[in-house]
Symmetry: C2
Subunit: 601 residues, 2 copies
């Protein structure tokens, strides 16, 4: 008889989506396991681009410092087009992203193994390791409606096979799980087993990828470059150390096996890919120093899974849900943000804080995003793989078209434009009272000053991914004549037994709700200890929309957020950093209704 | 026969001065040992203030991130004075430091044990541990002139006593060292043994210190506060977590044993100190939560050692050299900056790069600083301990006097005003060519943009304490018609065999000299690969005085430094971050002369 055990969450696959989920769950103290079929984490290649919103997510888990230290930062993009004299010439140098909504206007590149290591090391501090090499061989989901609805049940039975068992160990084991996550990649075993299919199709864009240290006179080799040449397109991604990645457009005749229609890596090696690159770079010279670090060939597929879960008990995430071109550096970001969205919801349901129906919002929010991503990718790939406009080819892609797309899509590719549609988790009814904090988007970063000690803080740094809802009480101008009474009345209402804080707080509201107050008064006018106790549970919890002591940052936050400086507003930030609901003081009942939509009293 | 061994540097004492030195030497690969009489590092209390310049020094060793993460940041100071209605009232909230020369306008507080741990953990990654508990019992210095002048000799014999030897181990051992550092505190054994005395005297200012978590309605408890009350002065230093430190002025009658003239800790415990504090805080209430974390009493002494070394073979540093009041948070900073100054010089001499006479500059530079510190402390202590001016006491210290002193001394207390006088290491002859980079002061921080990838960098972050001289070639406007020829001529001169790079570079100049080029041209105008190879040994070494891609930082650096934007200049930064020499291109011979003053060809 194989060993049997129970677990709350079983994660299958320790790629970016899997380790993001495992780290978040372990941080939340959830009983979980994560298994992977590979004997060790990957050492080179694969995904490597981290977008601004994903950097913010890393920071929210306390992992941003290491990411930023180890990775290469990309600040500048360069565009090359055919030159009248033959070869290519630079057209423009541009920043990546529209910056006014970003704390960090940069992308980071770091190979996938190093990214994964950040999560693995973080999990390890809490005693959680990826178990490997292990493959799942069977999965059964209970058909009992009662069992599926009971969040304390273990309705999923997974059979695991240890590929490298210890001597005398039974390689087979049975795990009964409350929830299972299939984060097992584009060829997801979990997805196939639970009968979810992918919608979409293969394109005929064929690309080769080479990671290497270049020897070149090309002056923008450390910029993200889009090169359109008469010999085909290519893209440069500078990476950690002196490495770069080249994406080179290939002809499908060279690369596709006509018999199978699949890419055949035996037909076209890295040397041949580089030969194509060399032609495109003319008049610049490029060759590699030392060995090729990693390489691959691929046909771009653009597909989204029809569903992201079965019964909200077995979920899929990451490449298992969506495949698209790597050109805009979205893949790893989409994957990690899938499980960043899911993990806190699982924690809330497992703790008995939220109804199991909350988990429906995972597919609702992330499938819509995946579809947007594919739509974007179709447009972007077409532009990118298209022939450049020249005298002889007037139908080609012009530089202006390309740049316009680059800028238009910038908000999307940075990840900060992600917008979750209205649902139990996103309630835009009172949107005008915080007109620039779009419900369903992530909180806009801004610097506020801590009242007690004048220390300026990026508000994101105060709102970690700790599974708590952040209740930001913008208390308005608390030194104006009538505002203190309004603020006191709000505090009294929130302290009352029927308030959401008390009703859903289960005797310890600070475990679920993290209350902050932000005054529009100036430090010199406000004694923050005059605020009601509820709005200053600790000296560190009162912020001011005022300049710092040196006039370098701060002030203007109410305006930036579109909140009335006199009257204030209530802003609820979800545990994943997205705006959940906003309301004027008078709309407290609607905040109540919001939480009643998914929380258990 | 006790065990005998040789070592290049023996450090006695593992307080802040000792561990700073040990870490720097171990980073430089110097053969060294460090011993301490305490069985373990201290757990609470002692020094705790880290000034802006010291933060920069931590950053230069790669230790800034942890310091900033673990410490409390102080951004705001508050001043309280007697109120007409009795008790105290706030007079003003002010920033600490004049900010325009600082990257970080803040002080950090963190208890000494945590500070030491940052160094100990760093050293440990290179296999260096503090050996403890060990005391030195004898020290002998050779009297042979020849031996003392030979940097490869071991002219010092130290007998060490292991206080907790392993079973069967001889507790006595003999160490023969090339150099010894006495970093063994105010009652330094090394100082006494080598016959160095302290100049100066005890004051009659008596203070009590208490570390605790406060329960209070005092609104500025998280600011650095100077409180002048009719019941005496006190100072608040907010610390890590919820802790604060109180400095309370006491009456010497209560605290001094009249028989000995010394502070008697039996006469006045923490409860009594707090009683005094409570009176000074009226009408605010203050008491402690839980236990007192640490406390002490002291009489302020203001003394400087007559010499800082004997034969430039045995050195003293830190409290062994200077004692003063802790009020301006200087002690630990002065100590660590002593050995930051010394460590690279020892490394250069031990490697055979510099003549042993270079070590004379340690006393020359640091003793002058210590004297300035005592002078400052005399004025500051007097103001601080003086009675406040009131209607009844018109001779007291006015708020305006106090604030003026606070601001005037700000540059000094921040550590950035430290100015080393002209010597072989500080050559101000060509000062006008970089008029705002004062020779003998630390390099002004500024943000430049890396040419290859548009990444903005604080220049301090590019110039670590790695024992190398940083050769900053401000290449001027390299896209102007005549400048490329001037730059090429300079590169040719520097590449010539008689150039300092080659003459002192010992076949591997990049090990001793770190060359950077900084152009005043704009990114859109300059192809950085057009610069001479000598000025771009790697793609990362060319900086631009241009705005970053988002217009947030950068540009104006030439102006800030007082360097001609067309013609440029050469700026040499010492390994400890101080400006050593500046020169126009035409003054290259004087840079040569500078290095000839202490380097070995």
């Amino acid at each position: 008889m194989p060993k049997e055990s129970e677990v709350d969450v079983l994660i299958i696959g320790a790629g970016p989506a899997g380790v993001m989920c495992a780290n978040a769950l372990s941080l939340a103290g959830v009983n979980m396991r994560i298994v992977d079929k590979r004997p060790a984490k990957i050492a080179a290649g694969q995904a490597d681009g981290i977008q601004p919103r994903t950097i913010e997510v890393f920071q929210s888990y306390g992992l941003g410092e290491r990411l930023i230290r180890e990775g290469n930062q990309m600040h500048m993009a360069a565009f090359y087009n055919p030159s009248p004299s033959g070869g290519i010439e630079v057209q423009a140098n541009e920043p990546f992203h529209n910056s006014n909504q970003l704390t960090l206007s940069l992308q980071i590149t770091l190979h996938q193994g190093a990214i994964e290591a950040i999560f693995l090391d973080s999990m390890r501090t809490r005693g959680v390791e990826v178990e490997r090499p292990i493959v799942p061989t069977a999965i059964e989901i209970s058909e009992s409606e009662a069992e599926l609805k009971d969040p304390t049940s273990h309705p999923i039975k997974v059979t695991l096979q240890h590929l490298d068992p210890a001597a005398g160990e039974d390689p087979t084991e049975i795990v009964r799980a409350k929830f299972v996550l299939g984060a097992d990649g584009a060829h997801s075993w979990v997805r196939k087993e639970i009968g979810i299919t992918l919608d979409g199709e293969q394109t005929d864009y064929v690309w080769g990828v080479v990671d290497m240290i270049p020897d070149t006179d090309f002056p923008d080799i450390r910029c993200k470059c889009a090169v359109h040449s008469d010999n085909g397109s290519c893209m440069i991604i500078p990476r950690e150390g002196d490495k770069i990645r080249l994406y080179i457009q290939l002809s499908d005749r060279d690369v596709i096996d006509p018999a199978t229609g699949r890419v055949d890596k035996n037909r076209f090696g890295p040397d041949k890919i580089l030969q194509v690159a060399k032609k495109s770079f003319h008049p610049f010279e490029i060759s590699q120093i030392g060995e090729i670090d990693w390489w691959t060939l691929y046909l771009i597929g653009q597909r989204v899974a029809t569903r992201f879960s079965v019964h909200e008990r077995v979920f899929i995430a990451g490449d298992a849900c969506h495949t698209h071109s790597p050109k805009a550096g979205q893949g790893m970001n989409a994957s990690m943000n899938d499980t960043h969205n899911l993990a806190w919801k699982l924690a809330h349901v497992l703790r008995g804080w939220a109804d199991i129906s909350l988990l429906k919002t995972y597919e609702f929010e992330r499938r819509k995003y995946a579809q947007d991503l594919i739509d974007f990718d179709k447009k972007f790939s077409k532009l990118f793989s298209g022939k450049p406009r020249t005298k002889l080819n007037q139908d080609g892609v012009s530089h202006e078209e390309f740049i316009e797309a680059f800028q238009t899509f910038g908000l999307f590719t940075s990840g900060i434009g992600v917008h979750y549609e209205p649902s139990v988790l996103s309630s835009p009814a009172h949107q005008p009272c915080a007109s620039n904090l779009t419900v369903g988007q992530r909180l806009l970063p801004y610097i506020f000053v801590r009242a007690a000690d004048g220390r300026p803080y990026e508000i994101h740094d105060l709102l970690p991914s700790d599974t708590r809802f952040k209740i930001l009480v913008f208390v308005g101008n608390t030194v104006a004549p009538t505002q203190p009474a309004r603020v006191q009345a709000l505090a009294d209402q929130m302290a009352a037994p029927e308030s959401f804080l008390q009703k859903f707080g289960k005797g310890k509201p600070e475990a679920i709700f993290d209350v902050w107050s932000i005054s529009s008064a100036k430090k010199t006018e406000l004694n923050y200890t005059d605020l009601p106790r509820l709005f200053r549970p600790h000296w560190s919890k009162v912020l001011l929309d005022d300049v710092d002591m040196y006039g370098r940052s701060g002030s203007g936050g109410y305006k930036k957020y579109g909140i009335d400086e006199e009257k204030g507003a209530i802003v609820v930030i979800r545990p994943d950093g997205y705006v959940g609901v906003v309301a004027p003081f008078e709309g407290l009942a609607d905040v109540e209704t919001y939480f009643s939509g998914f929380m258990i009293a």
